[in-house]
Amino acid sequence: MSGQAVAAEFVYPPRNKILVVFDHQVSAKDAYLSKIFNLNPTADTQIYRNIKWSTKYYNVLIDVYVDYVDGLKSWVDDFCSHDFEELRKALAGCVFIRQCKDGDEGLTAISKIGQTGVIEEGFLAILATEFDATQERLLAVEGELLAHGVEMTAMRSTETETEVKNEYGELSGIARIKEIIDTFQWDHELLHREPNGNENIPSKGITNNSQMPALDDVMGKLQEARAKFLTIDSSEEREAFAREMADEISELL
């Protein structure tokens, strides 16, 4: 636990980068970037730094790399080569945004990344802007990709809002891509917990629904008050402060 063994621990920086790979044919590419990452795309920018990714439990600052590709096959060969190990180790994951079809060579190429395992802990996701096949084939292809650690999610033609769920209540399209990023296991150092994060368990849906959040507030106030109280030296000031706090807390209750 001591902080001495730093050198060995930090050979690689934490995985805080997401690589977005667009197929050239995809139209309105910028719209995807802004919908997924909530950023303002500018022409010719391929690196967006310190983008804030927020969930109800944490914030994390990420970098988004954007690439545009014609033939995925040679791109994948490069990407998997020894030269790019450092890049791969910095990636939380890759999102491929493309039009897919049955028997697509691009899909085979992407599943090769999964098969070789070169991206280790990182995720591999495909956002299919369209998939020209029957629903049955779509499911079959999804299954094959998943077997190699690649998740494909297709935009539904009806996708207007962010949340579209399938029969299992699973999100699809952009919403699912966001969920994959949400549930990525970020390095501990990267995470910034929200003040009401982990330790305070949300207690919705049970009997004391209304009471609990108030109690959380009271607790927080008390904690703060106590810490401050201990730092005050003069006994007069301490008492005054205590009275003040007592009033405030009774109001809250």
Partner: protein, 156 residues
């Protein structure tokens, strides 16, 4: 009856989100089961039944959104159909507790997910309570006790 040997929560990304072993397994066996079942269950096709024969026992799984709830059950005596209902009862309880539970809730509150499970299954994976209300009441009361202990400490 159903005797659950283990319960695993596996994400569509192949990550284990929760595991609870009710039967004695060595670390090597546990690893093997986690690894093999992640692949097996993720590879199951949509219309396939939710019962898989695995090793010397059966595995019953059910998918909720991007999470698979996977239970190994004792062969012969265990009722496969009821296992599906037990999984569902557990998910219902979590759904109420977290107000529409999602994968992220479980990652960040996994001890709560365990706490709830402990009020459903006990000893060697037998069901101990079937009422959702009772399950939730117990967990909520224990949560309240934690808060009051916290209060005691602050006021001390």
């Amino acid at each position: 009856m159903v005797q659950i040997k283990y319960m695993l929560l596996i994400s569509r990304q192949g990550k284990i989100r929760l595991m609870r072993w009710f039967d004695a397994f060595t670390a090597t066996e546990k690893n093997k089961i986690c690894r093999e079942l992640s692949t097996t269950v993720l590879a199951r096709k949509l219309k396939m039944c939710n019962i898989v024969e695995y090793q010397d026992h059966k595995v019953v799984y059910r998918r909720y959104a991007s999470l698979y709830f996977v239970c190994g059950i004792s062969p012969e005596a265990s009722n496969e159909l009821l296992t599906l209902e037990i999984i569902h009862r557990y998910v219902e309880a979590m759904d109420s507790y977290f107000d529409n539970v999602c994968e992220l809730d479980i990652i960040f509150n996994f001890t709560k997910a365990y706490d709830i499970l402990n009020e459903v299954l006990i000893c060697d994976g037998s069901m101990t309570e079937t009422s959702k209300t009772s399950i939730l009441k117990t967990v909520a009361s224990m949560d309240a006790l934690e808060t009051s202990d916290n209060l005691d400490q602050v006021l001390s």
